[in-house]
């Protein structure tokens, strides 16, 4: 099993032949995955128990009675579907705005020569460092004056501004890698620079746009502070705020809460599964070269 040869464990290549180490590695990974999923697995187990079994100690790891009652209650008690829909609209709107504006700015910052390039880049990145709470109160007042409270745009616009620096960064990092010959060819063909951007650069940038869109979408889907403050009408609440409301003032119906949590996590799980590669790439884009 173990050879005398020294491998620098964890620092790059692994000796493929060493079955033991390989098994150990996969056990470690499985353990990590289990730790990552245990809380949601536990919510799932709780959601299947009748109320009396959910509040029992010592706990039962395999439900003695299985019921779907909690799911029915969760769906009947609050407009769960509506919450999901609201989150979807807000997150998609945010992603669309950020991808579009991020592409425009990213193109200018990566492929055009102009004065003040560095200051502009720094201003955009700097805006990402400003605390959200300091933007909340004025934006709340602004949204109220513009009648944007309890309106999708009231959340989409702030979210888009908050995540725009990230979108710009992703897009400019991608554009930077494209060969110069693309523009030259386009200009030779008689396109304007704007034409080159919209006809050639943007279409071939779909992968980077998707990456940016996915990360921005997850952010907007998860945001809580603004969602809690701006959406006060039941029909306009997003899923994160909606879930937080299942717990009552004095009582916590844990069966119902866990059913709601499980249902709210399913779209996210599917999303992560479908876009696993994009999510990983999106988060690490630019960091290696940072």
């Amino acid at each position: 099993m173990s050879t005398e040869r020294r491998t620098h464990y964890g620092l790059g290549d692994i000796e493929i032949g060493e079955t033991g180490k390989k098994i150990g590695f996969y056990i470690a990974i499985s353990l990590l995955v289990l730790i990552s999923f245990f809380p949601i697995i536990w919510m799932f187990i709780t959601s299947l128990k009748p109320p009396t079994e959910a509040v029992r100690f010592p706990v039962t790891y395999i439900p003695e009675t299985i019921t779907l009652q909690n799911y029915r209650t969760a769906l009947e008690q609050r407009p769960f579907g509506r919450y999901l829909f609201n989150s979807f609209v807000v997150a998609s709107g945010t992603a669309i705005i950020d991808v579009f504006l991020g592409a425009l700015a990213g193109y200018a910052l990566s492929r055009l020569r102009f004065r003040f390039k560095l200051p502009v880049l720094l201003i955009i990145l700097f805006s990402a460092m400003l605390p959200f709470i300091s933007r909340l109160i004025p934006l709340f007042r602004l949204a109220r004056e513009l009648m944007l409270l309890n309106d999708y745009l009231g959340l989409i616009l702030p979210y888009a501004a908050f995540q725009l620096p990230f979108a710009v960064w992703i897009m400019q990092a991608y554009f930077k890698e494209l060969p110069d010959s693309i523009e030259e060819a386009g200009l030779m063909d008689g396109l304007t620079r704007l034409g080159v951007l919209f006809r050639i650069i943007l279409p071939i940038s779909a992968p980077a746009m998707a990456t940016a869109a996915i990360i921005v979408f997850i952010y907007a889907w998860n945001e809580f502070l603004f969602a809690l403050t701006f959406m006060t009408e039941e029909q306009m609440k997003t899923i994160t705020v909606g879930i937080a409301l299942y717990g009552g003032q004095y009582s916590f119906p844990w069966g119902t809460i866990s059913a709601a949590v499980v249902m709210s996590v399913i779209p996210l799980l599917l999303f992560m599964l479908i876009f696993q590669r994009k999510v990983v790439e999106g988060l690490t884009a630019g960091f290696g070269k940072a």
Binding site: G10, F37, L104, M129, P138, F224, T229, V241, Q276, F287
Partner: protein, 317 residues
């Protein structure tokens, strides 16, 4: 957009070329003009939604009744005096600092370990990464609800496990004890974000050229020395980014204390943003709330500057 179809066919080359040239001249922008055109919407947007509010918050912190709109009155440093006299402000600041400076270094350590573990080719790498990233992708406040059930004082599964392994004799109200509640909250955030840290560091690791390790091994350097003399120094810029990326959200923690403990018990988990939000929107003290928010801005920027100043060094490669 003026230009329509680019007919590359042979028919009417001459007239096609001519009209193309005309269109090109009509819409010809210099690079500088085009850059301005493209960046303007972005800068305007950020100006209104990101920069104006910061300034306005500072302005509001010097006023009384500003948000109500009717009787705004300039009061100078009064709101700040009220804020600094309030013991809850200092308590919340302390909570946020402990929360941040305990959780972020631990996340960095665990993240580095995870990154070293994942830094190799194996089957299902993306799937494994996405699975480990799942806690990060969970909405913070939903995650907080989940853990408040896991930690439940009477029926929580964590209590059950601790009893089963013999660490506890009976269920213990973890989140109801001031000294343990914060530790519990910190462990939840470590669980949630270590994988994110790992992913950023992994991106940095992939950028370190393999031949450096080969050379080090030829010189007989131990694994530890390779880590200390090659990996960590070359990873420094990535570590800087990772620290900024985690410290700023940590100092702004809101959803986690809101959903896990609602700041309790006895404000033991009331972070600075939870405090600010509560005095602003529950007590409607907009002036003091704005003063508190401004303090957070100053702290956040100071921390970023501190990181950049200590860790940044000009490209050495």
């Amino acid at each position: 957009m003026a230009e329509r179809s680019r007919d590359a066919s042979g028919a009417g080359i001459a007239s096609g070329l001519e009209s193309r040239l005309r269109r090109y001249r009509d819409l010809r922008l210099t690079e500088e003009e085009l850059a301005t055109l493209l960046l303007m919407p972005v800068l305007l947007f950020l100006g209104v939604v990101s920069f104006y509010p910061i300034v306005d918050t500072v302005w509001a912190s010097l006023q009384d009744g500003y948000i109500i709109g009717t009787s705004a009155e300039f009061v100078g440093p009064e709101n700040y005096e009220a804020l600094f006299d309030d013991g809850r402000f200092w308590n919340a600041l302390g909570v946020s600092f402990i929360y941040t400076f305990v959780s972020v270094p631990i996340e960095l350590g665990i993240g580095l370990g995870l990154a070293l573990l994942l830094n190799r080719k194996f089957h299902g790498k993306y799937l494994a990464q996405a699975a480990i990233l799942f806690p990060w992708a969970l909405p913070t406040v939903i995650n907080a609800e989940i853990w408040s059930w896991l930690f439940h004082g009477q029926f929580g599964v964590i209590n059950d496990m601790l009893v089963r392994v013999g660490l506890l004799e009976t269920a213990y109200p973890i989140l109801a004890k001031p000294d343990i509640a914060l530790a519990a909250m910190i462990s939840v955030t470590i669980w949630k974000t270590s994988s994110f840290m790992a992913l950023i560091l992994l991106a940095g690791l992939t950028g370190i050229p393999e031949h450096l390790y080969e050379a080090a091994r030829m010189d007989g350097a131990s694994n530890w020395r390779q880590l200390r003399d090659i990996t960590l120094p070359l990873l420094k810029p990535t570590i800087l980014v990772a620290l900024i990326f985690r410290t700023l959200p940590a100092i702004q923690a809101f959803g986690l204390p809101y959903g896990l403990t609602n700041g309790g018990p006895a404000e033991a988990t009331t972070t600075i943003v939870l405090f600010t939000h509560s005095i602003t929107f529950n007590n409607l003290e907009f002036g003091v709330g704005s003063a508190s928010a401004t303090a957070i801005t100053v702290i956040g920027l100071a921390l970023s500057l501190f990181y950049v100043a200590t860790l940044y060094e000009p490209e050495v490669r």
